[in-house]
């Protein structure tokens, strides 16, 4: 359906190199990347706002790299909303419908349908100058969705929304995708990728460093960056020895249960399965290390604790454990985990 071949572009200091991406019809493709990595630039290349230095954009087998913006059949929802400031909310949503040979009744009902879906019917008659960020975002979304493009480009379309709205709109996007719209969605929020996509690509330092089915990518991150970025902590490259030992960064040796006779690979240690204690525990756990607490980060109903044992481990513990043991930053602790807590990715 949509294909990027070898796209490269240089803008000042910034550059994207050799970006390849292929969306099939019906895909919900999420492009993940840090702030400033060029996600917006890539979407704008597809939409025709920016011309790449080299490479081609193919839509439905047709090369649209140099096609006019209005002739490309891709709809884009911009990160900065680009809501028309001189039109009311309603007029904004009406905008793409005006050229479409619809009766005013049909237009009216479409506007209301999509205002309903994006939860802004109460704003329809408002001007857009004083809307809040989240309101603007929904206006932009409704305005694009009502246009029912075959291929939809979304630039962080849920960034300014609260949890509840985010949930509602994720459902909406999922439904639209199920009804046949191909979606390329750009975000830095890996949860959004998990919640919405069937395929995902991770972009870093100007390149796509991993792409594929969402499950695959999240289960088998290609490298530390992907692993960290996708929310998986404790991701390491390891060298395995025949005696079920994995050596990480040449520093720490840990026991693993089974490494399929490979020599090099990646391992993930689930933070929830690491136990910390003030003293060396005698237990069935085969890995026991002494370390120093670097940082304690509170989350909802639990805490993440970063411990340096030669490598940095992220451990998740409950509130009670924290208060029971009175762990502090810089205090020394023991960590232990079973070899079954380790996942090996060849």
């Amino acid at each position: 359906m949509l294909k990027l071949n070898n796209i490269s572009i240089k803008l000042g200091d910034f550059q994207l190199t050799n970006i390849d991406l292929e969306l099939e019809k019906g895909d919900y493709y999420v492009l993940l990347g840090k702030s400033g990595v060029g996600k917006t630039v890539l979407l704008e290349i597809i939409a025709g706002l920016i011309q790449p230095d080299s490479g081609t954009v193919i839509l439905n087998e047709i090369d649209i790299t140099h096609e006019k913006i209005q002739k490309r059949k891709v709809g884009i929802v911009f990160q900065d909303y680009s809501v028309f400031p001189h039109l009311s909310v309603k007029q904004n949503i009406e905008y793409p419908l005006k050229g479409k040979n619809l009766s005013s009744k049909q237009i009216e009902s479409l506007i209301h349908e999509y205002a309903e879906l994006t939860n802004i019917p109460h704003l329809l008659n408002r001007g857009t100058q004083k809307l809040s960020g989240g309101e603007l975002q929904r206006v932009a979304l409704a305005r694009m969705l009502v246009n029912k493009p075959d291929c939809l480009l979304l630039d962080e379309p849920l960034a300014s929304l609260d949890v509840q709205l985010k949930g509602d709109l994720r459902n909406l996007l999922r439904k639209i995708n199920q009804n046949g719209t191909t979606i390329l969605h750009v975000t830095h929020d890996y949860e959004e990728a998990i919640a919405l996509s069937n395929k995902v690509a991770v972009i870093h330092e100007g390149k796509i460093i991993q792409k594929g089915l969402t499950k695959e990518v999240f289960k088998k991150p290609a490298n530390e960056f992907v692993a960290n970025f996708t929310g998986i902590k404790n991701f390491f490259f390891a060298e395995f020895s025949p005696v079920n030992t994995a050596n990480i960064n040449g520093k720490v040796n840990i026991h693993v249960s089974n490494h399929d006779q490979i020599e090099k690979g990646k391992i993930i240690i689930r933070g929830e399965e690491i136990i910390i204690s003030e003293n060396h525990l005698q237990s069935s756990a085969t890995n026991n290390f002494k370390g120093k607490i670097l940082q304690i980060i509170p989350y909802f109903s639990n805490y993440e604790i970063i411990i340096d044992i030669g490598i940095e481990l992220s451990v998740v513990i409950s509130e009670e454990s924290l208060s029971k043991f009175k762990f502090k930053e810089n205090s020394e602790v023991w960590v232990s985990f079973k070899s079954t807590a380790i996942k090996i990715i060849p």
Binding site: A47, G48, L49, K68, I69, Q70, R72, V74, G75, I76, F78, D80, S82, F84, P85, H86, Y95, P96, K98, G99, K100, G127, Q129, K130, R143, M144, N147
Partner: protein, 262 residues
């Protein structure tokens, strides 16, 4: 919202001086005119006709030439080309050309031997001494004000919004009329008002193209020459009052548009 203005006091003082500078000469003129004179003058058909003619010619010049000037401004705001600097410079030229020189130049352009003059003749229209000629002379000296204001206005419209509209499937023409034009409208209106106003005051160029029918600046000149200040002044004052009323109305129209935006 803006109840606490944060304009420094010295600004108000400096600004006040400028206002005084504009008002004082006019005030002197007003104070030297008696209401009876004004009343007389405002009934004088020659005066009334000339004011109508002036307003009408400048209005037509503004409207007709806006049809080309606004697209030109848009083009200049949006497209980069090699000799854009020169074209921008040329656009400013009519402002700078001494008015009688401008009049002479336009005379060459519309006189019977010229291309335009021949076209006119063929439909029985002689621009020289005709309101159409007056309008052309007014347009020539005043069109840069519209072009510059509109270009500034278009430059202030985010290209991004235009591209958004294109992406939503609108044709370039629709984008222009529904996005660019409304968003630049404030500046364009300001430019239209300036062009109209500038046309009203033109004397030097118009007198060469058409002494008759007589626009108000020429009438004032003639009255002054023939009868002196005492007869010229009330005409000026009546003309200025009419214009002031016009401008207050036009400006408040411009403001209204703006406030409905909010």
């Amino acid at each position: 919202m803006n109840n606490k203005s944060h304009t420094p006091l010295i600004f108000i003082l400096l600004g006040g001086l400028i206002l005084l500078f504009i008002i004082s000469p006019l005030l002197g003129m007003f104070l030297a005119t008696t209401p009876a004179q004004l009343f007389e003058t405002s009934k004088d058909p020659e005066v009334v006709n000339s004011i109508w003619l002036t307003l009408w010619a400048s209005f037509m010049a503004t409207i007709v030439f806006a049809v080309g000037a606004i697209p030109l401004s848009y083009f200049l705001a949006r497209t980069n080309f090699r000799f854009k600097g020169i074209v921008n410079g040329i656009v400013d030229l009519p402002v700078v050309i001494p008015h009688s020189a401008a009049g002479i130049a336009i005379l060459g352009f519309v006189s019977r031997d010229s291309v335009l003059g021949k076209v006119g003749s063929s439909v029985g229209l002689n621009f020289v001494g005709h309101p159409a000629g007056i309008a052309i002379a007014m347009a020539f000296v005043s069109i840069p004000f519209l072009i510059n204001a509109a270009r500034d206005g278009f430059e202030n419209v985010p290209v991004r919004l235009e591209k958004t509209a294109l992406n939503l499937g609108a044709s370039p023409a629709r984008v222009f009329f529904t996005i660019s034009l409304p968003l630049a409208w404030k500046n364009i209106l300001s430019g239209l008002i300036m062009m109209f106003a500038r046309g009203l005051s033109e004397f030097g160029a118009v007198i060469i193209i058409a002494y008759h029918p007589m626009i108000t600046p020429i009438l004032i000149f003639e009255r002054f020459g023939a009868f002196g200040l005492k007869y010229a002044r009330p005409v000026s004052v009546v003309f200025i009052i009419v214009c002031l009323v016009f401008f207050v109305l036009l400006r408040s129209l411009a403001k209204e548009r703006k406030s409905t935006d909010a």
